[in-house]
Each structure stands twice: as structure tokens, then as C-alpha cells.
Amino acid sequence: MSLITRLRESRFWPMLWKEFIQMRRDRLTLGLLTGLPAIQLILFGYAIQTDVRHLKTVVLDESRTAESRALVSVMINTGNFDLVGAVADRTALRNAIESGAASAALVIPPDYERNIKRGRTAEAQIIVDAADPQSSGSAISGAQLAALARGATIIAEHYRAPPPIDMRVRPWYNPEQRSAVFIVPGVIGILLTITMTLITSTAIVRERERGTLEQLIVTPIGKPSLMLGKLVPFMLVGFVQMTVVLVLGKLIFRIPTIGSFALLYVLTVPFIVASLGVGLLISTIARNQVQAMQVSFFFMLPNILLSGYIFPRVAMPVPAQWIGLLLPLTYYLTILRGILLKGIGIEQLWRPTLALTAFAALIFAISVRRFSKTIE
């Protein structure tokens, strides 16, 4: 038999054909597969704002001078503080913060301008509701920077000399420091993880539950055709989802896409294979669809928390960083952000690529071995 005939008559094709028909008719899965990219994107793109800005701020200005007003406007101009009103005394200030009307307060004492004029250190206070350290962190550092900047201006005016140091911060790759730029590429990774593990494992377990897997096993369909026919449709879905996120991310969140798309799609292959391997592995462990779903969620959790998707890995305790190194998503995120935001190529990305490929080969080999053509 010629190669072309063998290819044309491969048992992979009826499997693929059947899988696409089923996918088309399964409204729930279809909805999940197509709706998920949009929902994830909007959920994570909009909701996750690790940079907390625009804290509602009240001002207790006991100085009421040109200098104190200048300090207020410097603070407001950082964008970290939104002026919501002035308070008359400390009691009103406490009330404003306790009631949640404000989460920060700027206190300028009566002698503020006088001390500046006399060349003494003028004191001012920023009170921040720091119950949630993540939301107060950037406000605090913003306030300190603003005060330093204001001090430098005052010194320059006073001594009529240029400031001794002029430090300019240049935030590369994400100049406006928007969370979405960091998060949206990660959505692709999370989405592929969900599709390849949760959706794939439940699809395989469903065949076992319904008795059709048993029926398939007694047919002469080979293990490669059976598995490829089952997995390739999800692989294609994964690439479509990725494309949807890229397009929507570009349109809605204006994420930069400076790197090579071709490289991105090529390096996505090992990640998809690794994730499919995990999905296949879950399908060999789980006895029913509910179990498959539970195991998948159990796998999702470290992926969301420890891969660097939302929380920076460098800030994690060392054991958590090690666990992160065992997740294919960790490497894929480096690749995603590297290509999309920094526009770097394979020369800089060969390490995560190598790790990802090794993972893909290992996990897939293990799960293929476990996925035997018997029903034991």
C-alpha cells in the first residue's frame, strides 16, 4: 500500500471527524471553548490590578499656605491619590478612614511653610489604610517619591542651584505600568491549561463512562490514531483560543505584540503537548467526569498561584519557587511575555524552551504508557 493510501485510510480520520461532530453538538463544551477566552480575558484583564492607584484621600491642611497647597498638588499628580475632600481635624480624619470614605489622608501641620522658609525640615504625614499591604504599597512608595521630588524642587529654588542628582526612572516594556500588559499574555497560558487538562480529560473520561471507549478498543484502531484523533481537535481549539486572546488583548487592552508571532505559535506547541499529557494522565487516574474535574482544578491552583501568572515568583519563598519550576506554565509565561512584551527571540528563550520541551516529552510519554488499549 502506498504511503498516500495509508495516510488517507488511516483510522485517525474517522476519529477526528467524529470528534468534531461531537464538539459541534455539545453546546456546553462549545460554549466553554469559545466563551472562555472572552470571559477569562475580561475577568483577569480588568479585575486584576496589582498596581493600586487612585486611593481616595482626604487632606488635613493646618498650614493653609502656598507651600502646603503645592505639596497637595504634587501628591495628587502622582496619580496614586485622589482628593475626595478636606477634613477639619484629627477626629474627622479618623472617621473618614474608618468609614471607608477615604483610604489615605495627607496631614500638613501648621508650621509646615514656616519651617521650609527657615531652612528647617518641614514635616508632613501620609496616613494609609494598610490593612491590605498590596493595595497600600504603591501609595506609600509614591508618597515618598513625591516628597523627595518636592524637596529637590524646593532646594533648587532656595539655593538657585541645580539638584545634585537627577534620577530618571524608565519603565521598559510597560511604560505606563499597566497590570493588563502583564496579565493578558498570561491569560493565554491559563486558558490553554484549562482546555488541555480539564476539557480534554473529561472528554476522554466521558467516553469511558459511556462505554464507547471499550467499544473503540475492540476495533482495530491503533493507539496513536485513537489518541491523536482525540487530542488534535483540542490542540486546534487551543490555537484558536490563543488567537482570540491575542486579537482581543490587542484591541481592548492595547497589549504590545512586538515579537515574532511565528515563534510564539511554534513555542506554544511544546506547552500544548505538555498540558495535553497532563490531561491524558488525569483521564487515566480519574474514574468519572467529576473526579477528572476535581483533579484538574487541583492542578489549576498551583498553576494560577505559583507560575508567576499573577504573583511575581521572585517574591515567593524558595520552596514555592521550586514548585513553580515543576509547572510547564512557569516556562511558557516567560516565553509568552518575552516574545510579546520584549520582542526577544529564541537566543534569549532557549532555556525555558528546553525545559518546556523536556517536560512535554516526559509527561506525554508517561501518560501514553498509562493510556493502554485495555480497560484494566
Binding site: 474517522p14 461531537q22 453538538r25 459511556r210 462505554g211 467499544q215 475492540v218 485495555t374
Partner: protein
Amino acid sequence: MTAGGAPAGPPAGPPAGPPADAVVIEGLRKVFHSGLVAVDHLDLTIHRGEVFGLLGPNGSGKTTTIRMLCGLLTPTAGHASVVGHDVAREPEFIRTKIGYMSQRYGLYDDLTVYENLRFYATVYGLHGRARVERLDKHMEAIGLTSRRDQLAGTLSGGWKQRLALACATAHEPEMLFLDEPTAGVDPAARRAFWTSIYQLAQGGTTILVTTHYMDEAERCQRLAFLSRGHLIGLGTVKEILEHFHQPTIEDVFIELQERDEGAAA
């Protein structure tokens, strides 16, 4: 118990063909991971073209035996050959020669009647013109032409059973395994099903069937009784009745079941 007014009797004699046996089982044994011995030292031979009934109470090892013969389970010990090939060494070759239908039917509820048939026919290696002709023939034979585009999940039990049989025999196998194929369908559908079975047998197909219905058991040419993994009775209906000194196969079955429960207690 009588044959329930069945129109057709067992077909006469095996057809001409290679004088080999369709199934040869020697010392077959299956121990599950749990330690359960499902089948123990089973010896059995099924002749080509025979309609062979495998009987026994639940848990007697009928399904496990069929699954080993189909390559769904690996035997722990012993040998079995199907259509002249060893199940452990050549499972993939055997799969091209056999059909298998379980009580779960193995149909895709979200595919139509025609799509199910087409899928299995293609998986069994039918292509192009041959496939179209074969599918049309089968659709006609099972009387599902008018339901061609109906989703299999919306069919009644009897129609599902017919479709399942058509899917299992789309490639015209030499050997057909039927594991409780008539569980849960009405008497009319069961009768129609057995008519199809005899047609297949007359066409030369060897059939191994398990059942709980005694009227069906009496339609088989030869029977084997299993109890807790052992073979405890083998022969034609007449021979079995004489051996156990019982008036009907149902009485034999009940006696065996009681003996089995007594031994297990």
C-alpha cells in the same frame, strides 16, 4: 421454560470453511489487581459457525472471559486463540476479524444513526464505494433508513440494540461476541434480534453470546455454564438437561446459582 414462541430455530450445522475452531481456550485464568479470581482454569472450544451460549449467575466470569477474548483484558495465565490467532500475541489482528457488542452498546448518543454506522465502518477499514454500499445495505437490513439522521441518543432501546449490532458487524466479522445484548429490551425487539443472529450464523459467522434469558439460552446450539470462574457444564441443551436431571434450562440455572451461593457462604 419454552422458547417464547420464537419463529426461528438454530441453523443447521456449521458451514463449509477452514476446519479450524473459532475459539480455543486452554487453562485461561484472570486475577484482578484486587485479588479477585474472575476466571480460573477455563478450557473451552467453540466451533466455527456455531451459536454458542455462555451462561452463569452475575459474577461468574462470563464478561471477563469475553473481554479477554476481545483483547480488552490481558489473561493472567493460560492461552486463548480466536479465529486461529493468539489473543495475547496478536490482539490487533484479531480485532479486524471480530465484532463486539456489550449491553452498553457503545453508541455515540450525539451522533446520528448514519454517523455512528459510518464511524465504525471507517474505523474497521471500509472506504470509498465499498463503504457506501455496505452502509446502505446495513441501513436497509436494520430497517433504520427512515431514521438515518436521528440522533442515536433519542432512539428507543430496541432500535439502539439494532444499530449497535449493525455497528459491530459493519465489517462482516468472522466471529461475533455478544455480552448480554438483549438486556433491557422488549420481547418483540429480542425476537427480531435473534432473527438477525441466526441470519449472521447462517452467513458463517461464529457467535458467542451471554444472556440471562433462558429462552435465549435454549436457542443456542451449545451452552457452557460458568460458576465463580469455573466451567461446570458444557453441551447441547439436551445434554445439559440430562446431565443436571432438570426439566428446563432455567431450573439448571437456578440450581447452579443456589449451589454457588451455598459455596460462597
